[in-house]
């Protein structure tokens, strides 16, 4: 079992160390936590691309990538995502552990220095980011934003959330919009970088054997020249209205299979007392092969290949997805609604709850086997304030009963139903 230990590395900068001997690779990351806002989402997302394209020490992509290769094939990955209404910019580096390095070099320390130099020592020209780097990464980011249409399932989900949370920060795309990306200049990006450096919250992680204390010392030294003025840790507005008319949206595209995405409000977050009962209720209803959505909508009615639900426990949402034949739209929608109603009525068996419990416990305990999942688990814990280890959570879950499930499910209210369907004339 791996617990997390926190180290303070300066004003709003924290190092989180998860000690794990069992992996062959060492993982180090920085998660830059920023409020998700329409005005700044694009430039923040672009920052990640430009910062990992070149640095003062490795001034072009080729020298930067060669440096990574020389650190025994260290791998750099970047990620922009949201946790509730926080935009998270993640840069991670994984490399083989020092004990597998025959030359005796401290590869882990080299990786940490490399990571820090990416975020703090970029290539600058006259108080701006280098124009060529900015243009290359702008095009790349635009490709990524426009590319969301290539995965129809994900696209449908995104479109639904955008409609459902229009006017809320959660409705902002984590990568920003193409029109915003197009307008960013090297100067604007420089301002965004300074703002990030000075005001963002930084959550560093080390998962493996590298000392958290050592990392905190190094990080704190690296930031010693930065005048830090972080404000409040960014938060999320949880919107919950009980009696709202459900909105129906249909879009057409050249697709073989229609995609159904349904958004519901739960009002329950990871900080709520009913958090675990809701997780439990969701498992009975729609996550996994023992859930009602799988056993009824797929196995009994044969309406789809996939139909499942998941929770966003930071924003207080439930998201349902299925791929169906367009002609079965109403049938599928009715069946899904009926399954949710059944959970609300308490129309489920002890077999159902025990299957849900076991499957959740299995999923929680498996977190221990992946450095990336361990990081995500504890990062989300930091944001929500619920910092229990996976094993402890697995045990807590067992305390809840069918009544708790019914109570938690009672508050789930539909908000938006989105259908992506094929064009009429095919």
């Amino acid at each position: 079992m791996s617990d997390v230990i926190h180290y303070d590395a300066g004003n709003g900068i924290r190092v989180n160390a998860v000690f794990a001997e069992r992996f062959k690779r060492e993982r180090m990351s920085v998660n830059i936590m920023l409020p998700l806002r329409a005005e700044t989402a694009a430039e923040n997302a672009l920052l990640v691309g430009v910062l990992s394209h070149a640095s003062e020490k490795y001034p072009d992509l080729l020298s930067l990538n060669r440096r990574l290769a020389d650190m025994y094939g260290a791998k750099l990955t970047t990620n922009v995502f949201k946790i509730g209404e926080i935009q998270v910019l993640r840069i991670s580096i994984t490399s083989i552990k020092n004990r597998f390095v025959q030359s005796g070099e401290d590869i882990s320390r080299q990786c940490l220095d490399f990571l820090l130099s990416l975020i703090l020592d970029p290539v600058l020209e006259d108080g701006a980011f280098r124009q060529s780097d900015v243009e290359i990464e702008k095009r790349n980011l635009i490709d990524i934003i426009e590319g969301s249409i290539n995965d129809k399932r994900q696209y449908a989900n995104e479109r639904m959330i955008r409609e459902m949370c229009a006017g809320e920060n959660f409705g902002v795309k984590e990568t920003g919009e193409v029109s915003d990306v197009e307008q960013i200049s090297g100067e604007m990006l420089y301002d965004a970088w300074r703002r990030m450096k000075e005001t963002a919250f930084f959550e560093f992680f080390t998962v493996g054997e590298y000392s958290g204390e050592e990392m905190a010392k190094t990080v704190s030294e690296a930031f010693s020249h930065v005048r830090r003025t972080p404000g409040e840790f960014p938060g999320t507005d949880v919107i919950y209205v009980r009696d709202k008319e459900t909105r129906f949206i249909t879009e057409e595209m050249n697709v073989e299979q229609a995609k159904l995405a349904i958004g519901l409000r739960t009002g329950v977050t990871a900080a709520s007392a009913d958090y675990l009962p809701l997780v439990y209720a969701n498992a009975v209803f729609g996550s996994g092969v023992s859930s009602k959505l799988f056993t009824v909508v797929r196995e009994k009615l044969h309406l789809c290949y996939y139909c499942s639900s998941r929770l966003d426990v930071h924003k207080g949402l439930m998201l349902i997805q299925s791929g169906i034949d367009e002609s079965n739209y109403q049938k599928a929608l009715d069946a899904i609604t009926e399954q949710l109603d059944a959970v609300k009525r308490g129309d489920f068996t002890e077999k159902d709850t025990s299957a849900a419990l076991l499957s959740l416990q299995n999923a929680y305990r498996s977190v221990e086997d992946s450095p990336a999942e361990l990081e995500s688990w504890y990062l989300r814990g930091l944001v929500s304030g619920r910092e229990t280890a996976p094993e402890e959570t697995a045990e807590q879950l067992a305390r809840y009963t069918a009544e708790d499930i019914v109570r938690a499910a009672a508050g789930i209210v539909p908000d938006t139903v989105y259908l992506l369907k094929g064009r009429e004339a095919k």
Binding site: K24, Y72, N254, V255, E256, Q257, Q361, S366, P371
Partner: protein
């Protein structure tokens, strides 16, 4: 069942291997400290097994496309209830997959390992198909097929395999088509099962914090002794030439996609085949990896983006060098890759590029041992090809630059290459 112990000192890893009296091959990989245990049993039955016979039979039987995958779905159905339902009593996360050359049934669990293993070993040995349940599955798989038809990455690869191969059954879609699966009957499923799901045609791997002896005994007791059968695939002659040098399709995508493949032939000897495939991976990394001039300059020029990928893909009876990318001009990018490959054929790879690439590929091979799932799957795949989980690391260590340079002209043969493109429906953007 006697177990032999195989160790790799450099990696600090060990596994145990044994063959059950039925012919089932058993691989047990202890991973101290792992929270989950992973078990996977595979049958040498994939989408390319479309025409076969049992040794001794007179005629080959040709089955509908997609039957191996259909069989995978239907194996979960048991006379006494659904296997998923049984797993729901243990909490294991269970699944299955069908590829070109195999079908695997798997689960991972953090507790109740033996109960789950019991379920797995039971349902793979007890087929139960009825016309009614077959019919029902046609609806579900029909939706799965449609889902894949909307996936540009999958359509790109499908187009490419069809273009590059003329006869090889790897051309056929793994899941088949809505039309082809409509011809599947319970009787055909039993026939397929009878031919391929014979312990002598299967391998099981278990990976996790396990008691090796007890696990071996548990498996041994539950595998029924069946008379080994030898399945013979209908032979085919694949020419060096491709079926079509260029294919394209329009889909709802944001930017065109390019696929380029060179077909290759693997040596008969398993370890020689492994050496060839790791050398090909090193070559691809040395010529087109992220730390190469090719990658960085074309990235900076906007010819490729982060979606650029290269891979040496191989399995039973097929092998190809593959490139996939998002690009504004697929034909131009294919041309640039071919030009770089031709240059390398002429000049060889530089020692620096070779060493850097070899390190990278080695690092990737080592990271396999950090995931019980990936390791278990690899154990089955390697065993099916006549190798083991340490073969790749060993082959990488043995690969030198001379071997790679010698391989270059065989890898990049123009006449054995084809390009597949996907273009956006609404005309090309920008």
């Amino acid at each position: 069942m006697n177990l032999s112990k195989v160790e790799n000192a450099v990696l600090g890893e060990t596994y145990y291997f044994g063959v059950h009296s039925s012919g089932l091959r058993v691989i047990l990989i202890p991973k101290k400290g792992s929270a989950s245990t992973y078990a996977v049993i595979g049958a040498k039955c994939g989408s390319l097994d479309s025409a076969f016979k049992i040794e001794g039979d007179e005629d080959f039987v040709t089955v509908p496309d997609g039957i191996a995958h259909f069989l995978e779905h239907k194996m979960f159905e048991c006379e006494d209830g659904d296997a998923f339902l049984k797993y729901s009593k243990t909490g294991a996360s269970a699944n299955a997959f069908t590829s070109f050359d195999k079908t695997c049934y798997l689960f991972s669990c953090t507790h109740g390992f033996y109960e789950s293993l019991d379920i797995l070993l039971d349902f793979v040995q007890r087929p139960y198909f009825t016309e009614e349940t077959v019919k029902k599955e046609q609806g579900i798989i029909g939706q799965e097929i449609k889902m894949y038809e909307d996936s540009p990455g999958w359509e790109l690869l499908k187009g490419l395999l069809n273009a590059v191969y003329r006869e090889n059954p790897v051309r056929t879609d793994i899941a088949g088509t809505v039309e082809s699966i409509s011809h599947i009957t319970a009787d055909l499923l039993y026939r397929c099962y009878g031919a391929f799901y014979n312990p002598a045609n299967m391998t099981i791997a278990v990976c996790g914090d396990i008691d090796v002896e007890k696990t071996a005994g548990f498996i041994s007791e539950r595998i029924r002794d069946t008379k080994p059968k030898k399945v013979v695939s209908k032979p085919f002659e694949e020419p060096d030439e491709v079926s079509a040098p260029f294919v394209s399709k329009k889909m709802q995508v944001s930017i065109p996609m390019m696929g380029l493949a060179y077909k290759d032939i693997l040596p008969e000897d398993p370890y020689e085949a492994k050496k060839r495939s790791v050398a090909a991976e090193i070559i691809l990394e040395a010529l087109f990896g992220e730390a190469t001039d090719f990658y960085c300059s074309h990235y900076d020029k906007g010819d490729i983006n982060t979606a650029f990928e290269k891979e040496y893909m191989c399995g039973r009876g097929f092998a190809l060098t593959l490139f996939e990318a998002e690009t504004r001009d697929p034909e131009k990018l294919a041309c640039m890759i071919k030009t770089r490959a031709a240059e390398a054929v002429k000049d060889g790879i530089s020692p620096e590029d070779f060493n850097r690439a070899k390190r990278r590929i080695y690092g990737d091979a080592v990271s396999l041992f950090d995931s019980v799932e990936r390791l278990g799957d690899a154990a089955v795949a390697e065993d099916f090809s006549g190798n083991d989980i340490f073969s790749a690391v060993k082959a990488i260590e043995e690969t030198d630059i001379a071997y790679c340079n010698g391989l270059l002209p065989e890898l990049f043969r123009e006449k054995s290459s084809a390009v597949s493109a996907i273009y956006p429906i609404d005309g090309e953007k920008k």
